[in-house]
């Protein structure tokens, strides 16, 4: 830095150093010093002071009563008792009474203490001197000398081999801690690229848990599906659903603008991933008139009639589409897995 070249005369000339009224006599803005203390009513009138005392005692007594009320409420009200209290609604009698009595018990202790401090304790303002935080030059010199002596005695400056190996050891030892974190989780590998969907897996309706059939799905309706064989009670249901969840709508084939989308649909029935490509919220605010689907988390909007193209919001790429067909039993089935990773984008996604 070249601050030496810059004159530091931009600082105000005088910093307030005086303590009280010792400025120049002719300065109309001089500090007149602490104003004289003005007494309160309580300082002059013992009756007023007594009133304050009674007020404080009353508040402490109210607090005691409120605590008794708290215990009484705890004993009296069953935990599931609901009462109507205007304007709060049908509330738990226990929560309401416990909260208010506890609140009062605490509040009145505080109010009593503050009232006491404000009306009865001395309100004379006192000035306390500050002392510079920086050490005096003598102290600083002493500390530096001590430090040099210590460093000298350790010979850390001279014996560089010791110094360097010590730094090396200290730098390496935390690595053990980092290594220990390795088993926090598995490596990503291809986990984010695949889902449970595979050729021949039927689409199971999330509501009825039965296979979906093309005739079930009318134009303008919305249905959700999971892959056949996934058990909602299984250990990894959540993890698998986090990738496999499907949203199914039917669009008049002529209204589908994207050719690949039309090819991957079955008679206009399209299956898109329900997992938003922004950060992975289950997206399904489907507006059947426009075929737009909105994510409730960050408002990414996709056009389901045009390859689920992003038309608004922070998502970076379309929702992946699952290629579907109909099996021999007339049920909808997947014709393979998604051809790209579902959900949020990540570095290795490509």
């Amino acid at each position: 830095m070249s601050s030496q070249q810059i004159p530091e005369d931009n600082l105000p000339v005088v910093q307030e150093t005086a303590h009280g009224a010792v400025e120049r006599h002719d300065d109309p803005f001089a500090d007149p010093g602490l104003p004289a203390h003005k007494p309160r009513i309580q300082d002059l009138d013992e009756r007023a002071a007594k009133r304050s005392e009674r007020a404080v005692a009353l508040m402490f007594t109210l607090s005691m009563l409120a605590t008794v009320g708290f215990i009484a409420s705890y004993v009296i009200f069953p935990v599931d008792k609901i009462v109507y209290i205007w304007p709060f609604g049908h509330v738990s009698a226990l929560n309401f009474s416990l909260g208010l009595t506890l609140g009062a018990a605490l509040f009145f202790i505080g109010a009593g203490a503050v009232h006491w401090a404000r009306t009865l304790m001395s309100d004379v303002e006192v000035a306390d001197d500050r002392h510079p935080i920086e050490a005096t030059p003598e102290v600083k010199a002493q500390v530096l000398a001590d430090f040099r002596a210590g460093a000298e005695e350790s010979a850390i400056g001279r014996r560089k081999l010791i110094r360097n190996t010590m730094f090396g050891a200290l730098a390496l030892v935390p690595l053990s801690g980092v290594v220990l974190l390795r088993d926090l989780g598995p490596l990503p590998e291809k986990k984010l690229r695949t889902t449970l969907w595979a050729e021949g897996k039927q689409l199971i309706n999330m509501n009825t848990m039965k296979p979906l059939r093309p005739e079930h799905i009318t134009v303008g309706s919305l249905a959700f599906a999971m892959p056949e064989g996934l058990d909602p009670e299984s250990h990894d249901f959540q993890t698998q659903m986090g990738k496999a969840a499907l949203m199914i709508v039917r669009i008049e084939p002529d209204d589908i603008k994207d050719k690949r989308q039309r090819d991957w649909a079955h008679e206009g029935i399209v299956a898109f991933s329900k997992i938003c490509t922004h950060v992975g919220c289950p997206i399904s605010l489907y507006e059947q008139q426009t075929h737009h689907v909105l994510c409730p988390c960050h408002q990414s909007t996709f056009d389901l009639s045009d390859g689920a193209r992003v038309i608004f919001g922070p998502a970076g790429h379309p929702l992946p589409q699952l290629r579907i067909g109909v099996n021999s039993e007339g049920n909808l089935e997947a014709l393979g897995d998604f051809d790209e990773p579902v959900g949020a984008a990540f570095w290795e996604r490509g």
Binding site: G89, V91, T218, G220, F224, E287
Partner: protein
């Protein structure tokens, strides 16, 4: 009881009794008649279609076309079914008042009888979902927990966890479901009004719809329990954060001002 006997002498009492009697007769008729009286039914049906056609010509034809074929201002009604009409007109959405991102719920301007006639006429244009019966939409005995599960899978993405509604694109929205009758919820699921997709019986059977209705009534009704106190709109962290700032921090700052303020000084006499 006293009140009731006093009101017996009210000039309108006779009318009320008559209406009740008619309703009861109608109910009894509905319960016992249909099987044997197909003929009468058919006549009533064609009468309703005739009446509905007249209503349609006045209130709907300007946008949906004289034969329900649709115009640039309104979609075709061929095949939407009576359920769609019952929902759209029964919730006041139709007839629409002004163009906009979405046709909102409004005051209903037709009587239920007129709505039924309109529905009969539109249903006659082409087969579609039929207005459900009271029994079909009655949530009594339904599985609330299963309804919750289904609601979170199929509905919550637009209507929020407890059906408080939410935003869609370009000013459209999924409305709050509080106070919507079971029949209208059922019809909405069946027909998919406006932006909403439909959930036909083939993918969401009738019982599941009932479960969902039961769930909505439990978590978003007048009697919904909110054990913790004010529900703050049921909107989640945004309203909670606002509350914490305005009332939480607001109250604490007010108290801090009191704690730090100078006590009133005695006036100089």
């Amino acid at each position: 009881m006293k009140k009731l006997s006093a009101r017996r002498r009210h000039p309108l009492a006779a009318v009320v009794v008559l209406l009740l009697a008619l309703a009861a007769t109608g109910g009894l008729y509905a319960a016992f008649a249909p099987a044997g009286k197909a003929q009468a039914d058919e006549t009533a049906q064609s009468l309703a279609i005739e009446e509905g056609k007249k209503l349609y010509a006045v209130g709907c034809a300007s946008c949906h076309g004289t034969g329900g074929q649709g115009t640039t201002d309104g979609p075709s009604l061929v095949g939407v079914g009576s359920a769609a009409v019952d929902f759209q007109v029964g919730t006041g959405r139709m007839p629409a008042q002004q163009p906009g991102a979405q046709v909102p719920k409004k005051k209903v301007i037709y009587s239920q009888a007129e709505i039924d006639q309109l529905a009969a006429y539109v249903a006659s244009l082409g087969a579609g979902p039929i207005t459900p019966t009271d029994k079909q939409v009655d949530p009594a005995g339904a599985d609330v927990a299963n309804g919750g599960e289904l609601f979170r899978t199929n509905c919550a993405q637009c209507h929020n966890f407890t059906g408080k509604g939410g935003a869609l694109t370009e000013g459209k929205y999924a409305p709050d479901l509080e106070g919507v009758s079971p029949k209208h919820i059922y019809e909405a699921m069946q027909t998919g009004p406006q932006s909403m997709p439909s959930f036909p019986d083939t993918t969401m059977p009738e019982q599941e719809k009932k479960d969902i209705i039961a769930y909505i009534e439990t978590v978003n009704g007048d009697e919904t329990e909110s054990p913790g106190g004010l529900a703050l709109g049921g909107l989640g962290p945004v309203s909670e954060g606002l509350f914490a700032w305005v009332f939480g921090l607001g109250a604490l700052v007010a108290v801090a001002v009191w704690v730090a303020a100078h006590t009133a000084k005695a006036k100089k006499s």
